[in-house]
């Protein structure tokens, strides 16, 4: 299981995340641990590669909420960026943004596995 210390180094606002979980460290870490398995990541990258912007928005939007609640800042910032761009219907390099998010997801997944 990932540690608070490792999370902090990863760039998460652990203080805020813990507060969200009413100081329940076990709950917080358990939820963080389950983030890399979130289907929403796959839905997002899939929708972007297919050019389905509505579906992409829905997935990004959902991820933004989850990641924000857990104060996973590095992932949250990327999900946020994608969400807002899609919301405004902006033209952007979504493939690259999605890839960056996928990188962060991988990094978190490794962190979780390392600590196991």
């Amino acid at each position: 299981m990932i540690t608070l210390e490792a999370l902090r180094r990863f760039g998460a606002d652990t203080e805020k995340g813990l507060a969200m979980c009413m100081g329940n460290e076990a709950l917080y870490l358990r939820l963080i641990n389950s983030v890399p398995e979130q289907q929403r990541f796959d839905e997002l990258s899939h929708a972007i590669s297919e050019g389905k912007r509505d579906e992409a928005f829905e997935a990004a939007h959902a991820l933004k909420g989850i990641l924000g609640n857990l104060a996973l800042t590095p992932l949250y910032e990327r999900a946020s960026e994608i969400t807002e761009l899609l919301r405004n219907g902006a033209d952007a390099d979504y493939e690259r943004l999605s890839a960056e998010l996928t990188e962060e997801r991988k990094a978190l997944a490794e962190l979780c596995e390392q600590c196991d």
């Binding site: 507060a19 969200m20 979980c21 009413m22 329940n24 709950l27 939820l31 389950s34 983030v35 979130q38 829905e58 939007h61 959902a62 933004k64 909420g65 989850i66 990641l67 924000g68 609640n69 857990l70 104060a71 949250y76 919301r87």
Partner: protein, 568 residues
Amino acid sequence: MKNILKSVGAKRRVLIVEDERINREILGNILMTEYEVVYAENGQQAIELLQKEADSVSLILLDLMMPVMSGEEVLKICRSNDELSRIPVIVMTQDDAAEVSSIRGGADDFIKKPYSMPEVILARCERIIELYEKKKLIDSAETDPLTGLYTRDFFFEYIRQLERYQDAQMDAIVMDIEHFHLINEIYGRGEGDRILKKIASVILAELSNGYGIACHCSADTFYIYHSCTADYRGLAERILKEMAAVSFESAKIRLRIGINQNVDKEEPPEQWFDHAKLACDGLRGDYTRQTAYYDSAIHDRQLYHEKLIRDIDSSIANRDFIVFYQPKYGIEGDRPVLRSAEALIRWKHPELGMISPGDFIPLFEGNGLVQKLDRFVWAETAAQIAQWKKKFGFALPVSVNVSRIDIFDPELEDRLTGLLNQNGLSSNELLLEITESAYSDNAVRLIEVIHNLRDKGFRIEMDDFGSGYSSLNMLTTIPIDVLKMDMKFVSNMLKDEKSLKLCELVMDISRFLDVPVVAEGVEEKAQLELLKDMGCQIIQGYYFSRPLPAEQFEALIQKEEELAAKKS
């Protein structure tokens, strides 16, 4: 409510509707500290759960973007369902645009995603729940469950709120049903309720055409506050017409409607309706009309009556009430002989001067206060008889009035015998007059009381005989000692044949019952002669003397003594 639940260790239940597991868990973990939490993963699940146990859910936390059924759809269903719409909904969203649309859709509050601090979420949930619980209490006290009309307190509160924002001319209307308690007694509560419901629905239908509110004020009384319209007379008539068209078990419903037109907004709202009620009460027993309008004459009379009611106690204490005595003469012999007297009350009001008994006796008979006057007169009269008895060596019997309400006084007999004992009188010296209409009221109790009184030696005079509704049959069952012919017959006996015939009829009845007749209101010699010819034994009236204060009446006793002495 929160404290009550805490005291029994119970928690309110909150439903979280959210498709993302992580969000569900975070939110659930926060809310668990204060509530029991139940979850739904999408709108469909939420609705299914709510349909089963809507009663036990105090709050819904609703995500908007969900598969299967979106939060917007859930909100729509909740707000179009009576039972579900009493549950508050807090929407969870990231979008400002969604906030506007869900406010329109009936959401009560928002929680932003990502979530704000847990304390904020908890405070918002608590606030909304408390608000709804209070609203529910208010809603249940706002209307009367039977009729659906406002309750009295809310009715007046809404009038006051209305009046802050408008200054249109308004009417206050009070409506009630004559003898409603009888309908309940005879046909049962269910029938009474049915009638009340019908009236309420007619009133509501009327109000939907115009501008106004209504309340079910008490048992059979309805208040309506309505804008003055050109055809406001029509309002009452339409309600009456509708009611006439409905057939109830009970033969006939008589509605009474009192209207206070264009209320005086300087006065408090309660008074507008007090005045309308006054007009309504004025219809009691008046079968020629069903609507009455409040006017200043009614108001003045009411103020006057209120003053009289307020002053009765102090006037008794200050002896502003004075007992007058009117002699009754036996006319059978060569010369009239003073037989007895009738005690009559007069009110010398400290501010209003002499008040005619006609102004206060019916008022006090109506509200029962006459009992106080009667007791005062009994005591005064008993003392007076005793004083004359001492002075002249013989007792002149005096009759006093016993009102209908006295008959129901369980201590009546003790009270009267107590007075006799106090003053050293015997029971045949204080005569009791009971008005004829009292006889038709509660014959059983009356017969019992009269029997008891007569057993103790009292003599009973039936007052105003001929004016009431006594059946001849009743006359034979009620024991009486004297008939007092209704004054009206005597007043009119010289003018119209019918009254003369009625005088003769009363004389016939008295012969049948074998009791003497007292004729009151005799003013002329011609009347006296006629009555004498008919066989009437005793005469009371201005022909002999008006009612006199005790000191002046003494002169009549004195004269009587001298005449008696001369003869012997």
